[in-house]
């Protein structure tokens, strides 16, 4: 992953700041950086979103394609995640450099969506055992400025909210079935993203933990806890990251903080998404020039 090199003095400075609940950029331990969210930024997708969290810049595109259901889940569609660490973000990702990080992130995304409540996959079924929608969620890292996981999960949620899947009907005629696409381009399925979890990564620095660490803060932290929280405050995934260990009491505290922060994160994201939606066609697209 993109990393910065800090001197001992810089680390001590950051650690003391965290201890006093005042971080280098003026935030307190439980504050996120200012996030910019824009949906529908790429036109060739079923849904897309771009999230900018400080210097972390993520673009997510969702494409719906027709496929066959998995053998063990005949009446459900599926979600596929791909994470591309482009060399734009950091030269280390050149060639195959970003592959490891990419699979790690994709595996984490599979993990947080790997439960029945996150998203209603039955909605994606067209025709049990034969046809279903497969949503390919492609994540592009445009810039890495710390806290990748949280930013990616926000972007994925926003992109899924923005996703519109065309409605199809199955026509039964003699001998076979035919799939007919609706004539009205606005006649489409929307996904219910109320239960899509967001990731909150809590980094342990000194004796305290912080959310939304910058690259500099990540360099000071030996261990962090990644948890995914739904809008109702339920946890769907828990994972320790980094090369340090955590003491049990701090994990309990981190889980509580994560739940509190996660709920707040969900509600503010939802407000922004709803506001944007209500603007409708009157919305001025910012895109990549903003």
């Amino acid at each position: 992953m993109a990393s910065v090199v800090l001197s001992e003095a810089e680390k001590v400075y950051i650690m003391h700041g965290v201890q006093e609940d005042l971080r280098v950029d003026g935030r307190s331990c439980e504050d996120y950086r200012c996030a910019e969210v824009e949906t529908d930024v790429v036109s060739n997708t079923s849904g897309s979103a771009r999230v900018k969290l400080g210097h972390t810049d993520i673009l997510v595109g969702v494409k719906a394609e027709m496929g066959t259901p998995k053998l063990d889940k005949p009446n459900e569609g599926s979600l596929e995640f791909f994470v591309d660490c482009s060399a734009n973000a950091t030269p280390e990702f050149e060639g195959r450099g970003g592959e490891e990080l990419g699979t790690e992130i994709a595996n984490t995304l599979y993990r947080i969506f790997n439960n029945e409540s996150s998203i209603d996959l039955k909605l994606l079924c067209i025709n049990p055992r034969e046809h279903c929608w497969v949503l390919y969620v492609d994540v592009l890292l445009l810039e890495c400025g710390g806290n990748l996981f949280d930013a990616i999960s926000l972007a994925v949620k926003a992109a899924l909210f923005n996703t519109r899947i065309p409605k199809v009907r199955v026509l039964e005629d003699e001998g076979g079935r035919e799939i007919e696409l609706s004539d009205d381009p606005f006649d489409c399925i929307r996904l219910n993203v109320d239960n899509v979890p967001c990731i909150v990564t809590l980094s342990k620095i000194g004796h305290r933990h912080i959310v939304d660490a910058t690259l500099q803060e990540e360099a000071c932290s030996l261990a962090s806890l990644l948890i995914s929280v739904t809008s109702r405050g339920a946890l769907t995934c828990m994972k320790k990251m980094g090369r340090g260990s955590l003491d049990p009491e701090s994990i309990f505290e981190m889980m509580e903080t994560g739940k509190r922060v996660g709920k707040l994160l969900h509600s503010s994201l939802q407000t922004v998404l709803d506001e944007e939606e209500n603007l409708g066609t009157a919305r001025k697209k910012v895109g990549f020039l903003g």
Binding site: V5, G244, L246
Partner: protein
Amino acid sequence: MPLDHRRVPGPEESQSPLLFVPSSAQDGEAPPAQEASRDPTALQPLFARVGLLSQAKGSAYVELDGGTKVLCAVAGPREAAGGGGGGGGEPRGRLVCEFRRAPFSGRGARSRPGEREPELSLALQEALEPAVRLARYPRAQLEVSALVLQDGGSALAAALCAAGLALADAGVELYDLVAACALCRPPSGGEWLLQPREAEERAAAARLTVALLPSLNQVAGLLGSGQGGAPDSWAQALRLALDGCQRLYPLLRQSLLRAAKRAATAEPSEEEDAAEAPAATTGT
């Protein structure tokens, strides 16, 4: 007539027969009565043996009563490939971990051989790194490979225990041993079960694996996901797992001590240790 061996002599489209089994029959497969009667805090009897591979620097074998069999070997320290040491300037050693399953380890169809599991390999590495004194191995790398011979549930936890023992057996300087427990929550809700068996794990709504450094009381690894529950429920699971790991620790310690004594009392007849009783816990 020559036969094309590569062609499967079957219909072009096929579906799993399981789809046509009435749902009630499928449910009957896992007897719910047995699940309910199980003590959620019970550990499966565990068998651990240290130093059984002669070619590896260190090795360990862990077997659970549920049928999980894991073999772990440690190699190195050897010169790190590529630029050694992590970021931040200080030259630390590197830990390279690999988690593999034997093609016949799981239930059902054979998996492709030699397939690495990147996620579990990473989990293994992140859980072992806090335990190893990597600063003592500048510019070198240690290789840990865990092979699941049979998966009867709680495979990652068993691999973590085995890896900790194998590292200690290799004479790698450690801060502590690693004890690990798996947990799962049955779909019906209710209590978390410690060290689930394969059937319980497959049916589970949520799973969690916890690795602990028992004498320092630090959580080294944590990996879990599943149906959302309140943080309290996960916290309860974590407490249960910590308790389980602490109960597992004397056992791991004992098997390591036995290996150390065996090595110290030098080479007199190797058959002797075969007669020794395996280290095993009972479920209480």
